[in-house]
Amino acid sequence: MKTKRDLEQWFDGETADPDPAVLEQPSTQAYLEDLQQLRDGAQSVAAPATIDDAQFPAFMAGIRDQLDTAPRRRVGGFWALASVTAAALIVAVSVFLVLNAGGVASTPTVVEATSTAIEGALVESYSSDEGGTATVWITLPERDIQ
């Protein structure tokens, strides 16, 4: 066979078998594979899926069933709201606890009121520079009855 056309004609059944020596050549085999692939693709396009007359009533009945089916009710709305509310509450409580914990750690002891029944005595109160220990100190008069 001299040309690819000869191969094509043989492939289409229009000519006799080619020279076996030519068929064995790798280039010939590759071209024949290409032709087969082309034939397969052409055949798939040439035969699309169709609905014949006997199948048409069943086809339309299926379409009507899908159109007439009522949409499913959404039952997840309540639980979604409850989940969001619970998550918001957890976040709020966590933030409160974190802020509160920080406050306790740095809060100093405070002396709010002092008094003495000893005439002439002096009661003083103060806190340390670091705001930790608070002190109440009494100074008795020199002429105390002790």
Binding site: V84, T107, T114, T116, A134, T135
Partner: protein
Amino acid sequence: MNVASFLIAVVVLAAEGDQPLAKPVTVEIVAVQASREAPAKPPAASPAKPQDPKKIKQKFDPGLERIRPIVADLPFDTFKKLKTAKISVKPNEEARFAITDRYTLLLTPLAKDKEGRIRVHIRVIEKIKKKVEGTDKKKEVERQLLSTKSAIAPKKPLRLGGMKLDKGELVVILFVNES
């Protein structure tokens, strides 16, 4: 979301103001005799005012390690342990603790404030011998030396001082925590 906002508001508002104490509080008392053994270096400042801790080398009895930083600013160089105790006191009940034969401490837990501090009422009572008028006799009476209302934070003690002893002065350190 309105429900969440309401609950958040409830939590925040609940934090305002004192809360009643639901459980007894634990009170740790450390009472020491504070004195100055070494010669005084003039001028000696009032014990009521803080001193530079670097100027005085202080000695402590065993078991007083915890209060070393708490008394470091006082103008005393020797601290002897008189009494230590850990007691449980019910809310709004007055607990009586005899520090020495002469001094008694009374403590009443009142409430818990919004900062987490325990508000307490503390009184120190002293027994003295008072002369009976018209006689040479003396009778023992109690007098209230000092009274204080304080809000004591966790791990932040209250220090009481200025009460005279035969030697030195009485210093009392109080720790108050929820049980």
